[in-house]
Symmetry: C2
Subunit: 365 residues, 2 copies
């Protein structure tokens, strides 16, 4: 059995890295009691809470946290007609938080995620590990068998080209989950009792050209480097699909990171994922995705972006055209999604005008 | 500090998996006292010892082991003029053992490798883990964030295409090393005291299209699937380079596995690597390789094999031509190496006539 940390108050005093450069984005429909366990680690940071569902409901946030909260009315007011690109009744709405942030880094976490313990029993400061991951380079061009060569006690092994040892900037740090694994509905149904108890003490770069299933439960990224690609798509209310929001963002992000020479890391840190969602409900949300992903993944595996795509925005718009052209045949949903991708970028640039112009002219954040 | 297991006699009685289908290949210049610690794990298996250096020297093998031993005189006698493709005064000579084996699987280990302990203090049966790795499929086409989905307690995560969940046959299992890491001479010189103490409880497939630095210290492979690609090149006596034998085999093997749809896994098991080789001696052996690998790796990254290459032998011959054509410009050494690659395949087919013809006609082992 694996248990969450139950006493984090006694955790060693935290030095809050990047305190003024990172926002924590939390999508929720309930009171945020889960923050109590995270207090020693999150309290120094600013939170952006994206309230999903009924906007008249009051979400309670434990005292002492610095936060801004947006409900659906706020989203509609801020984005006007462009609010159509933000999902409703689905945690995909979290990406609105990425858009309104003014910080360089985002950490996003689900409200059913608690503090995990490492094998020695110590409470894991997930955010600190994400920051370490993202502040050290990635190595997408050649695999290092001792995993992240920039970690203490590791390095590049014999046979690793010296010209590649500087690495590339890390855009994404994808963390994992102890206890309830992130399985699809069919696997949940088949293995209802399976728990992830294996603590793998590794961080590694996902190689260039390789796609992965990005989970949005415990995720950190550099907004300046990749933010506009972190669109969680159209899910939930009025849409034929759910639970593919983070997957969609992950596929788009990886293709764009590969094109722009940016890195994506996965592995540590772990959070403790407390409760399995209902597999029957999940199956209903997922089942079209289970078919579609058989077409979507080859599409992204084959996707190439032209040389003119020198900014994330340009890459994303180019990708939206390819989605419309190639995936539109799979289902009309992808036509709508492709349009929403464009709306998302328009909304992003409206809310982030300096970034938009800087990126358009310099090709660099 | 990390320590080797010092009492393996009390290890639980081993069920020797694949006892009659696997040979253990050990290159050596000294008495094989190191086998004492491996006795409970290796004694049921057949050993192929490739004696390097002075053939008149008597190598002592602890009692009770079943082995055949080949020294340079034996190699010359068996291969005749083709013996030129087998390196002398370099552990690259081990690949002669792969060639004379009649078994489906090979495990090869260096004689300075001892039994490591897992975090609970238990002696690790490295061979058993390799066999588990190689008997379960690989997943080269899409990354699974919980690593090897076929291990107990793991599976494919949400978003993993169902059509890819059968995986592909695993051709290679690459194990790691605690204590002395496998660093090149410059890294050894810079970090003389660095020890690998991190036990990463993971096995993973190296994605298709990604190269890795394959170390020959603790390696298992399926001879039927990939044997003829496991040529350790021309190193040591009379050659301008050393310590790139396993790297060369790894690059060729990975390109061919990718072409043939076979998998390569890395991670567990760990062995305990006891002593660092002399970094000054290593630098002398490696320094040309340090330049050359900057050209060799892009060469292998770009290498593609034609559709006619339906067997490992055909792939390897095709690769040898490309080596001659593209790397011959880097140094005349690669001309010689390309010729040796052809000689190696000729010798392999001579010693393995059924495999050679089966492969030539059916395209399958």
């Amino acid at each position: 059995m694996v248990e969450p940390a139950t006493d984090t108050k006694s955790a060693a005093k935290v030095v809050p890295l990047l305190k003024d450069e990172l926002d924590i984005v939390i999508p929720t429909i309930r009171n945020l009691d889960f923050l109590e366990m995270w207090r020693p680690f999150f309290e120094p940071y600013h939170l952006i809470i994206v309230q999903d569902g009924d906007p008249s409901k009051i979400i309670k946030v434990p005292e002492g946290f610095d936060y801004e909260l947006y409900n659906r009315n706020d989203i509609n007011k801020i984005l006007g007609p462009k609010a159509s690109c933000i999902s409703f009744k689905d945690s995909a709405c979290r990406c609105f938080g990425y858009m309104v942030s003014k910080k360089k880094y985002i950490f996003t976490i689900d409200d059913d995620c608690f503090v995990a313990k490492d094998p020695s029993g110590k409470a894991i400061n997930a955010l600190e590990q994400h920051i370490k991951n993202i502040l050290s380079p990635s190595t997408p061009f050649f695999f290092n068998t001792l995993y992240d060569p920039y970690r203490d006690g590791a390095d590049f092994v014999r046979g690793y080209p010296f010209s590649l040892r500087e690495g590339v900037p890390t855009a994404v740090s994808h963390g994992l989950w102890l206890n309830i694994p992130d399985y699809d509905a069919p696997t949940q149904l088949v293995k209802p009792l399976e728990r992830n108890t294996r603590y793998v003490d590794a961080v590694l770069t996902i190689p260039k050209g390789t796609l992965f299933p990005m989970c949005g439960m415990n995720l950190c990224f550099d907004r300046d480097l990749i933010g506009p690609a972190m669109y969680f798509g159209l899910m939930g209310d009025g849409q034929p699909i759910g639970r593919y929001d983070d997957m969609w963002a992950g596929w788009c992000t990886k293709v764009i990171c590969d094109h722009l020479g940016l890195g994506v890391k996965t592995g540590l840190p772990y959070i403790y994922h407390s409760k399995a969602s209902n597999p029957f409900v999940n199956l209903k949300k997922e089942y079209k995705g289970i078919f579609w992903q058989e077409e979507i993944i080859p599409f992204f595996q084959a996707a190439t972006l032209s040389k003119d795509c020198t900014t994330v925005q340009k890459c994303y718009i180019e990708l939206s055209k390819q989605v419309k052209e190639k995936l539109g045949k799979v289902d009309p949903y992808f036509d709508k999604l492709a349009d929403a991708m464009v709306t998302w970028i328009e909304a992003w640039d409206e809310l982030n005008p300096s970034g938009a112009s800087a990126k358009a002219t310099n090709g660099k954040a």
